[in-house]
């Protein structure tokens, strides 16, 4: 799992890189917000750890930008801060931060937060897979929606192009998984087929008797 750490202080960044690698993650680093956004787009890390105060682009701006252009794929974001003021925490949360980590970085706390992030991202992946499966299934099962005009006599239906067609053709076009084979239901057998059969045999008997 890729983890991108962002901090303008090289000492902190080197420490983070080492710890992230030690805890079994692939560490990526950026020394400012602009580089962070570039690396984020290229590498698509699942977890981001960013400092709050940085020159040019502050942490909350980095977070807001990432949240804005990564609407579908979630990233777990940890904000590094020496700020513990309630208003600052709220501002961080509103920008899209999931978790805070106080400076100086405590290795045990970092490890614990990375585990939480990993767990959330694995759950996210699992949910994403399920949503994709459901979407695929939904695409396969095209629902017949709305009112469908059907002829009271011949049972043809009028499609979206206002053309009348046999109902089996219509359903075959709108439902990929269905194919029709011809058959006769018991009711129709009694009312339609049986009289025809009887008439046929009666005719044959009559022909035989005249011969």
């Amino acid at each position: 799992m890729k983890v991108l750490a962002v901090d303008d202080d090289r000492v902190t960044l080197l420490t983070l890189k080492r710890l992230i690698g030690k805890f079994g993650y692939q560490a990526l680093t950026a020394a400012n917000g602009t580089d962070a956004l570039r690396i984020f787009l290229e590498e698509k890390p699942q977890i981001l750890i960013t400092d709050w105060m940085m020159p040019e682009m502050e942490g909350p701006t980095v977070v807001k930008t990432i949240r804005a252009f990564a609407e579908t794929e979630y990233t777990y974001i940890i904000m590094l801060t020496s700020r513990q003021d309630k208003d600052d925490m709220m501002a961080g949360m509103l920008s899209g931060v999931d978790e805070f980590l106080t400076k100086p970085v405590d290795p045990d706390q970092l490890r614990a937060r990375l585990r939480v992030g990993k767990r959330i991202m694995m759950l996210q992946d699992s949910l994403g897979s399920r949503v994709r499966e459901l979407e695929t299934e939904r695409m396969h099962v095209k629902m017949l929606q709305g009112f469908l005009p059907i002829c009271a006599y011949c049972k043809k239906v009028r499609d979206e192009a206002q053309l009348w067609q046999a109902i089996e053709e219509y359903i075959a076009e709108h439902q990929d998984t269905v194919q029709f084979s011809h058959s006769i239901c018991p009711d129709c057998f009694e009312t339609k087929v049986k009289p025809m059969q009887e008439a046929f045999f009666a005719k044959k008997l009559q022909e035989a008797s005249t011969e």
Partner: protein, 119 residues
């Protein structure tokens, strides 16, 4: 290794060094290089009355100091950082001077620790 120290918390440095002398030395070298640069930048910004820049540099140096266990230096930087956030901040040049002096002491101690680790 657990030498008493007045400028560096060895417990913190050892924790962040993760028992790896080479890595600890790498951190020390980076701190010496970046710290010196930051102190000079801070003095320059103060001389040019750029209080926002002084605060920004102090904030960044504070992070590195906390990371390395230079707690007194971190406190001085925090003081400057806090003052610089105030509207129409007028910074106390004596605090910046104290930062430079404390950084000298921190540097000496880090060099000493480095030589111990390298031995």
């Amino acid at each position: 290794m657990q030498q008493a120290s007045s400028h560096i918390s060895r417990a913190r440095l050892d924790e962040i060094g993760m028992g790896d002398p080479e890595f600890t030395i790498e951190l020390i070298d980076m701190m010496l290089e970046d710290g010196q640069k930051r102190v000079e930048e801070m003095q320059q910004a103060l001389a040019e009355h750029r209080s926002t820049d002084v605060g920004r540099i102090a904030h960044s140096l504070k992070g590195a100091c906390l990371n390395m266990g230079a707690l007194d230096l971190a406190s001085l930087c925090a003081s400057i950082d806090e003052s610089a956030r105030k509207l129409n901040a007028t910074l106390d040049s004596s605090v910046v001077r104290q930062v430079a002096e404390e950084f000298c002491a921190v540097s000496k101690e880090l060099v000493q620790i480095k030589s111990e680790l390298a031995a």
